[in-house]
Symmetry: C2
Subunit: 159 residues, 2 copies
């Protein structure tokens, strides 16, 4: 594994993870109706940090290997939708819009998991916690959307 | 070139480009002090659509080729910071924060341009308009930050 390639992939995840610091949860999220199984707030940064390290490792394992085209295209797709989700949910407060982003993210992560496995076993395995977590996050986004049907979106462009 | 790989890279750019639709410019941007050479609003979606098509082509050209590791790591890094910029600038109205994101984006695009050239001439060439445009966008972000030193940021988490 090339450590410089790992570092560049990790830089990509820092860009995605910056959304969590820039768009913090705050009182709006605290007062939303949420299901009983909602993970506590402290669990999110721990999970994301672990996932980001694992997928940077996965990307660095497969990058440049023969047949890695699909794996790296899905890697790029997942980091774009990962970066997009937080500003849509916590910035615009668009619960349904965030769910659509989450659906695209789930497809990208599922695609990345399968195609990383096809190139390298350890790279594929490194994507599995991400796929599990994004499934939980998707179920949480869906449930929050259903529990808060009249939650107004934040019209930033009108402020 | 594998058209399915092209489509997945293009899906990544759709995620990045969605920020432009979700965080529109609006009256806040209109009343910011801007330099005389600011491109007109209509030029931005045209430039970004062109750039997104070109870089999806570039990614699909090099993905899976021997020695493409750096190129695809930089491809992933640029799309993350590209997605991040718009919510920071138009969502949080953090002119200086957006400039830091732009600096990381510029490094990622410069890295992607060089490393795509190393693998495939046409892929490298396809990144050149992006590097030019992100240099202009960076200069614009810098100038807008300097021209509007007292512009308050939008504290979404307090709303």
């Amino acid at each position: 594994m090339d450590y410089m390639v790992f570092t560049i992939f990790l830089a990509a995840t820092v860009g995605a993870g910056a959304t969590g610091a820039m768009f913090p949860t705050g009182s709006w999220y605290a007062r939303l109706a949420k299901p009983s199984w909602t993970p506590p707030n402290w669990m999110f940064p721990i999970m994301w940090t672990t996932i980001y390290l694992l997928i940077a490792f996965a990307g660095a394992r497969v990058a440049g290997l023969p047949g890695s085209g699909y794996a790296l295209a899905f890697w790029a797709m997942q980091i774009a939708f990962n970066t997009l989700w937080t500003p849509i949910f916590f910035g615009l407060r668009r619960l349904k819009g965030a769910l659509l982003v989450m659906a695209a993210l789930w497809v990208a992560v599922a695609g990345a998991t399968i195609t990383h496995f096809q190139v390298d076993f350890w790279a594929g395995l490194a994507f599995v916690p991400y796929l599990v977590w994004v499934s939980i996050a998707g179920a949480l986004n869906f449930t929050v959307w259903r529990l808060n049907p009249n939650e107004p979106v934040l019209r930033i462009s009108e402020l």
